[in-house]
């Protein structure tokens, strides 16, 4: 999955969609708003999703008695 390995490919796409979204809603209602919700929704989801994931890869730390 080299598209995920490239450092700036996906961040660049997300940033561009974000900018398109931010300015789209200035130009009209309806589909323009939908474009904005998509462009800003993507970073919102990508930001929340890793925070909600539970730490499963490692067993919980064993507390010393």
């Amino acid at each position: 999955m080299s598209w995920r390995k490239s450092t700036f490919l996906l961040p660049g796409v997300i940033a561009t969609l974000g900018l398109v979204g931010l300015f789209a809603a200035l130009l009209g209602d309806g589909w323009w708003d939908v474009l904005a919700w998509f462009g800003l929704g993507l970073p919102a989801v990508l930001g929340i999703w890793p925070l909600l994931r539970r730490r499963t890869a490692e067993p919980a730390q064993i507390r010393q008695p």
Binding site: S6, L19, A25, D33, A36, L46
Partner: protein
């Protein structure tokens, strides 16, 4: 990237962030309720409610509303009349002891355009939402407060840019959105800081830049007065002070003829910051989506009611006009407000995790130093 280059960028990122973080946290926390100020004012019962009347009840003329406003605020004069899209029967009136009184000493209320009845707007004059607004805008410190926050905004922008530069060396061995959940708390938060920081990049940059522009609004307006307004007022340079004023009744009709196809947003009365000593100035918005955020002033002689100038729109006033929606997030419906709030909270998390990462690394080097010298 050479390690020396990384160290330099790291220094820039660390210090620009550290200096602005506390202020940015203040802005992000106070900004959160402001995104929903309209809804919260309704909830708190602080939004003006006009009485129910037959749907096509005629409006009073503007001079009758001026009289009503000055009856309601004895001894004060009208500075501004403004219109709000969601209350077509209301006129927002701002009054003060004199036309030139500074905005924070003015009084804001709504007039029922059909009856002249005054309806209070408590949220515009004090209370919790006003407290959040003042903390967000100037920390109750006037122009110095605004300029300090503008400077903090510039540091925030530099921190974002240096953060993007540093993103490359940190992510060399990692895939996009890879968070090492199983490793130490510090590693996990480093990955989260990088991921959340980079995905919210566009939004944070746009809100940061438009915030800086808005924080400099006073300077931009002064520039407009000295440049654009002054040139429109050239014929009035030696005019004697205004003694009698023609009634305001027909101002909207006069402005509509001078700027066809536009909508009035507010009227600045003679002597206020947005007008001259000799004019009523009607600020008109364009009718397209984009131009509805831009302002064209129509200067109407306050004695003869003649239109003496229709202002140009200098680029810096357009920048200020467009900065408002792009900073407030109020231009794409309820979903956009919610996304604005989520991105605001994510920014708080980036700020907090950045502070945490700096703290543990600093403590780490301190204890490593102690071990080395022990």
């Amino acid at each position: 990237m050479q390690s020396k280059t990384i160290r330099r960028w790291s220094f820039v990122h660390t210090w620009t962030s550290l200096i602005c973080t506390l202020f940015l946290l203040l802005l992000a926390v106070t900004g959160l309720p402001l995104i929903f100020h309209h809804e919260l004012e309704h909830l708190l019962g602080e939004a003006p409610e006009l009485r129910e009347m037959a749907p096509d009840t005629p409006h009073l003329d503007l001079q009758q509303l001026v009289a009503a406003a000055e009856r309601h605020r004895d001894g004060e004069v009208v500075q501004y009349f403004g219109w709000e899209a969601d209350e077509p029967n209301g006129v927002v009136a701002i009054t003060a002891a004199t036309a030139g009184t500074e905005p924070n000493s003015s009084y804001t209320f709504m007039l029922d355009a059909r009856t002249g009845e005054a309806v209070e707007m408590p949220a515009a004059n004090g209370g919790l939402m006003m407290f959040f607004l003042r903390m967000h805008v100037d920390m109750f410190a006037g122009l110095p407060g605004k300029l300090l926050l503008a400077f903090m905004g510039i540091l925030f922008i530099v921190a974002i840019i240096s953060g993007v530069v540093l993103y490359a060396p940190f992510m060399r061995r990692l895939e996009f959105a890879q968070v090492r959940q199983g490793r130490s708390t510090r590693t996990r938060w480093l990955d989260l800081h990088n991921l959340i920081g980079v995905v919210t990049l566009s939004w944070a940059l746009v809100v940061g830049i438009t915030g800086v522009i808005s924080a400099c609004a006073d300077l931009v307006i002064e520039a407009w007065r000295a440049d654009s307004l002054a040139s429109m007022l050239a014929p009035y340079r030696d005019a004697p002070p205004l003694t009698t004023r023609a009634p305001a009744s027909e101002l909207l009709e006069i402005a509509a003829l001078a700027a066809p196809g536009m909508q009035p947003d507010f009227i600045a009365f003679p002597g206020t910051r947005f007008s001259s000593e000799h004019h009523y100035t009607v600020f008109m918005n364009g009718s397209s989506h984009l131009t509805s955020h831009l302002f064209t002033p129509v200067l109407i002689d306050a004695q003869t009611l003649e239109v003496t100038a229709v202002g140009e729109r200098p680029w810096y006033m357009d920048a200020l006009g467009l900065s408002q929606p792009l900073h407030f997030g109020d231009y794409g419906g309820r979903p956009m407000q919610i996304l604005w709030a989520i991105l605001d909270v994510l920014t708080i998390i980036v700020l907090g995790s950045g502070l945490y990462l700096w703290w543990v690394r600093r403590r780490g080097t301190a204890s490593a130093g102690r071990e080395a010298t022990a």
